[in-house]
Point group: C2
Chain length 269, copies 2
């Protein structure tokens, strides 16, 4: 089975090119491929299929030639992954399946616009955020207040005074389950300059990660809100690198590096 | 750059075939390749070179055609790696570079005998252990006594009463730095049947790992010593699978699965 591997700010993916939707990508196969010791190792799989040949999104075939069939590392399906969409677009252009520039990508969350050049950053439209008031978290015995931001998935974005580099995020932070009955992604944020933040993130179901696309957008939405701003471009430093988030009137964009590091054959067990 | 990936009881390796010793395998390249998010991800690199073309071991060319140039994930050189030698031999036979059966492999620790069939387990000669008396460790506030075993590298093998599955090995266990001035690999062991042990291991410089070949041998040496035995075959259950250790009069053998999971091209940054 042919594969490529790539990452965006150290959020890493195995790409499975399958234009004609011939592979049976079971949850067990995804989990095998994503195992970091017995497989290739990744945060998720980007299964690349022509939209018109994927029944669940075939209605989008007129808008987007390619479907990003995204799977989490445990094999479960997901609607969308911002860093994944950037790596997905990088693959399509590198493989000659799409032209550089603006590119629509079909996902289970609808068609997303991605923009890239042959070199440099890739940006992806992340859609509008929804601000939902305040809630609280506790991290290693300290309580913080943050803003609830829905990006299709739930976030609690907390601007704090202590340097985030010193936080202990080994364990699940506490949160209010009446505000977040299905769990929440928690961002801890320092404002370190004009429209510049440092973020660490504890992802629902994964623990602390090196980067989180929706978390970067949620962090900027919260920081801008507290600064009395609603438009503009912000820089977000995460453990895995640097992202740029742009707030527009009706949508948001996430930009950053997206690179391919290997290609080959996976030897099925 | 061409690569393969394989593992033995979840101790995983990137194999870099380079028969004519043409690659410049710098510490930086190894660290890049072994990074689990921005590279391929592995515990170490097996650089495959014809012995006669590797100046540091060329004197062994009459005894072993192939040199296992082993590197740790941080890029440093190592003399030998038991699980690595088993995966190395699996690669040579799969690639048609060696015949199944007994195969000598040159290492910085001398020539090691490896035995394998096309299917099934691979065994490697690990050399004689040296028993060096007792020392102590403390794991999450509990003190244990163990036997010091030198396998070319230092081990402290502790048979304990508590189930090893319940130990917290998140942090570096304490040890006596006057007994181990250069650090030590620490094994915690339960005897669970006749010549059968369960082992967890905290490796010097790595933390807890899924498997450790020299640690498995050291554990059996300690368990056999306490049972008043010096010869025989033992089973060792580790987090990553099951190994078999055989004690002979003047040497030891480590056997277990060794599989290749992928092959491809690494795209140099």
């Amino acid at each position: 089975m042919r594969f490529l591997k790539g990452h965006g700010t150290e959020n890493d993916f195995v790409i499975l090119p399958d234009p004609d939707n011939e592979l049976e990508v079971s949850a067990a196969l995804v989990a095998t491929v994503c195992d970091r010791r017995t497989g290739l190792g990744a945060d998720g799989v980007l299964h690349v299929v022509r939209t018109k040949l994927a029944p669940e999104v075939a209605a989008l075939a007129g808008e987007a030639e390619w479907f990003m069939d995204y799977r989490n590392a445990d094999g479960s399906m997901a609607e969308m992954c911002g860093n994944g969409a950037r790596v997905f677009a990088r693959y399509l252009v590198d493989a000659g399946l799409a032209a550089p520039g603006e590119l629509p990508v079909a996902t289970r969350g609808g068609v997303k616009r991605v923009r890239l050049e042959r070199e440099g950053d890739v940006s992806v439209e992340m859609g509008p955020p929804t601000l939902l008031g305040e809630s609280r978290t506790s991290v290693a015995g300290h309580d913080y207040t943050g803003l609830c931001v829905d990006m299709g998935n739930p976030h609690l974005a907390c601007l704090i005074g202590e340097p985030v580099a010193q936080l202990d995020l080994t364990h699940q932070p506490g949160f209010d389950t009446s505000d977040f009955p299905a769990g929440v992604n928690i961002e801890l944020i320092n404002v370190v300059g004009p429209r510049r933040v440092v973020m660490r993130v504890f992802e629902r179901g994964s623990g602390e990660t090196r980067s989180c696309g929706t978390g970067a957008v949620a962090s900027v939405v919260a920081a801008a809100h507290l600064a009395g701003e609603s438009l503009g471009t912000w820089t977000v430093e995460v453990l895995g690198g640097t992202l740029t988030v742009t707030l527009e009137k009706d949508t948001t964009y996430l930009a950053g590096p997206a690179v391919l590091v290997a290609s080959g054959e996976f030897l099925l067990p």
